[in-house]
Point group: C2
Chain length 246, copies 2
């Protein structure tokens, strides 16, 4: 048996999310179906660094799987990309140590969230960036980002539907916003993210940018440990799982 | 009765083309359906500067229609955009002179064609730019562009399925390729374009860029007045109707 790891990209638009579920097309199911074909009907389980929700994209999701087929990494890449639908792509397949685990070995992740900040929407970007027509105070957003960085209990920034066990203390090592072409891109890097955490951070920071909240209110939001203290959850389609660190 | 004109954008991916046809979703039918709802079931005909094929996009297509409704231009814009599907958008609606005709008054058009010229495809651009992994000789493409500019009989660059009446003499006022971010963009401006002409020009220029044809071969291709003398037809999804001139 060989353990292999690879980086997958996907356009989350037409998926019900990453993880296999009874109803709806999922990224995991598409990859497992492709692997099953290569293994003459035998089930091959794929493990990712974590799930993503419906509509959320990835450019650097990590997966691993094991196989008894004797195929070199480049062969896996060609074979899988030929079988996968055109909204999923796998790259950089390599042999992994027997002990490697795409989820348990994760040291951190980077998410990016794209905002189209102009009066009119851009229909060619409608699945890939969130249209915010209001003028945004970038300096205020950057100030609020400073309060989010560091180790905090992020209960206020976690969906009430979360089923996470254990505490909600996480460390954000970087929170920032930067222009990229005609878009604004939020960057969040951290040791781990709670359910919907990035989308709630973005929703909150946009309220700061619109002047509906002051940057320093973020401090009280964190202290409240109450989801209702923070801002709205931004929609999924601006969000990209950018990179997973090991 | 008021005549109105407006600029429409559309993502051609999910359409069978611009023009109404018995089978398949079309841009014209979607706009006419929206107008029909505003006119209590009465049919309102929409006229565009010309058709576009399945998968071809537009950022500056011009349309006109007439109506007996007393709605100011901004009201039309709001009402139509609220009713149109999210892959069509109308902007810049204005009153037009009674004699204005979106098709007959056209003085010229600009098309752009986007190429993703890198080894790996980008799944987020898969509907909006044509992936060409081979290295391209941009200087050779630019030289070939010079031979295309001017007034020529473009029979060799017109689909054999064309039903155009009259001659195939057209004037290309600008043919060029330029980098834009990580893409290459072909720009064609001219008095008129034959059926599939831009896609055949792009297919031919890409063969020049790959070194399969010499730039000066374009001269003989034009003189041949024979579709088989020119290169392949590039796929529709890289093509954008960029602007219509009046």
């Amino acid at each position: 048996m060989q353990k292999l790891k690879g980086i997958i990209q996907y356009d989350g638009t037409a998926f019900a999310g990453y993880q296999v579920q009874p109803n709806g097309r999922t990224i995991q199911a598409e990859i497992e179906t492709a692997l099953q074909k290569m293994h003459k009907g035998q089930t091959v389980k794929v493990t990712a660094s974590g799930r993503t929700d419906a509509g959320v994209h990835a450019v650097g999701q990590m997966i691993h799987f094991t196989s008894d087929l004797d195929i070199p990494p480049e062969g896996w890449e060609r074979a899988l990309n030929a079988m996968l639908p055109d909204d999923i792509r796998i790259d950089d397949i390599q042999y992994a140590d027997a002990g490697f685990h795409a989820r348990y070995d994760t040291k951190g992740k980077e998410y990016r969230y794209k905002i189209l900040n102009q009066k009119d929407p851009d229909l060619f970007r409608r699945y890939y960036s969130y249209h915010v027509p209001q003028k945004l105070d970038i300096a205020a957003i950057k100030e609020a980002c400073r309060y989010l960085e560091g180790e905090h209990d992020f209960t206020s920034f976690c969906s009430a539907r979360s089923t996470v066990k254990g505490d909600k203390v996480r460390t954000i090592t970087k929170a920032d916003i930067q222009p990229e072409g005609n878009e604004l891109v939020f960057i969040f890097r951290g040791t781990g993210f709670l359910y919907n955490m990035v989308r709630i951070l973005v929703g909150t920071l946009l309220e700061v940018g619109k002047g509906e909240r002051k940057p320093e209110e973020v401090i009280a939001m964190i202290e409240a440990k109450d989801r209702s203290a923070a801002g709205k959850t931004a929609p999924p389609h601006g969000l990209f799982l950018w990179e997973v660190f090991y």
